[in-house]
Symmetry: C2
């Protein structure tokens, strides 16, 4: 406790963190929080919160000053706790409903069902500009992504409640086999559909693509009860779920 | 840094924090984050993040186990840093636009322009059920609320950029005089309008009320460039601003 008090009592120095979406304040704002060791940690926690609350978006990389703080967040336990907390809310919401035959819960894959931390931990936790070819080569095509543990636990509970699971991913259709194999290897044993993106629409943005796919599901008679993603763009647009859930992701922003 | 690593490396014990919207997981999920002193801090930080990302809402009180963590967050510096970060984003957005004559930026008052921490610090940081009469008597009617410092600094910058400021508050019209006096005393010296709620509509929920008021502003020819609130319900509904900004508030949820 003392430890935290000391940590959050850090001085904030303007322009400590900056990046595409986190520029320093033009006029330095003195904050007078007293002396402290961890002003960068505090400022990077603020950056992270602003990303999760949609106050900051569209960034290509995280602030360079926040690499260590992001690593600490991801590897230290807070990220796992945050992921668990959101999954708990999904479960409570789903459990308290009467489940109908065509009730589905949508899950995004990368960063939601499957953890891509093994990749990002090797690439600066989001401080390197995203390279899709490298991501496919070093991560997707290997098919060895572990489950995000809290999502997998929740997935099993949702399946046992009777919900149909649909994976809706921005991965392209040529990744179908490796994605199916990876999901099974990670412990996702059953799903109603695995929806991937047509190669011809590879440029389509996430909101347009996922909104259109949700519309098709509704037309097919499914009721989208929940939608789970680590990117706001997984959740925005029309044909939304009855309730959408945002898993934490401080490492990247998907357009 | 070591301090933070130690802090976030805390064990997470299921059902540590619970409340109206933060029930413990039915089956205890072991997390295996290793030993640590601050599992409650970690879980309460997760609760706070889930509130800011709209994964948790509708709560009447914060989890009782999170009173100390919330106090540390509010008083220790992280809350001020988080508030500053959002205000920076508002400023950068506003600064990068060509300002038209009828461009307005809306500010909520309590928890946004004026800080109600002096009240909540005396009432368990949101762990006591909200008592509107007591809030009016002990806080609103005294007219001595300080500005949220980061909001005031930003307000002055926005005024100097040429934006019109409109305060849109859920306070009732019988608080007009004390609210005007408090805003001026806190340093908010100019505004285009101060919109308060009709006593006859006192039961109307925040989203309906603020959506209707935003519609009137649009009809009057204003362009709502920005909307700033500490509650998602300040920002939801139709007639949204070009961009909405969510200031942190881990202490309460306004229906």
């Amino acid at each position: 406790m003392k430890c935290l008090v000391f940590f959050v009592a850090a001085v904030l120095v303007a322009s400590q963190c900056h990046g595409a979406s986190f520029r320093s304040f033009p006029l330095s704002m003195t904050t007078g929080y007293g002396d402290g060791a961890s002003d960068t940690e505090v400022r990077c926690a603020s950056w992270r919160l602003a990303v999760e609350a949609q106050n900051i978006f569209g960034f290509e990389t995280i602030p360079q000053q926040c690499v260590d703080a992001t690593a600490n967040y991801i590897e230290g336990g807070q990220y796992r706790s945050d992921s668990k907390t959101v999954n708990q809310q999904i479960y409570f919401f789903a459990r308290d409903r009467h489940v109908h035959e065509n009730d589905v819960i949508l899950f995004n894959i990368d960063g939601t069902a499957l953890s891509n931390i093994p990749y990002y931990s090797q690439h600066g936790y989001g401080s390197e500009k995203f390279d899709s070819e490298r991501y496919d080569e070093e991560f997707v095509n290997k098919g060895e992504a572990p489950a995000l543990p809290e999502t997998l636990k929740n997935y099993n509970k949702l399946v046992s409640l009777g919900y149909k699971i649909i994976f809706l991913s921005g991965r392209l259709k040529d990744k179908k086999a490796v994605t199916e194999a990876n999901l099974k290897k990670a412990g996702y044993n059953t799903w109603e559909k695995l929806i991937l993106k047509d190669l011809s629409n590879s440029a389509e943005n996430v909101v347009e693509y996922k909104t259109a796919e949700r519309a098709k599901l509704v037309q097919e008679g499914y009721r989208i009860v929940g939608n789970v993603g680590d990117q706001w763009n997984d959740l925005k647009g029309e044909n939304r779920a009855i309730r959408s859930f945002k898993l934490p992701n401080p490492m990247y922003y998907t357009k």
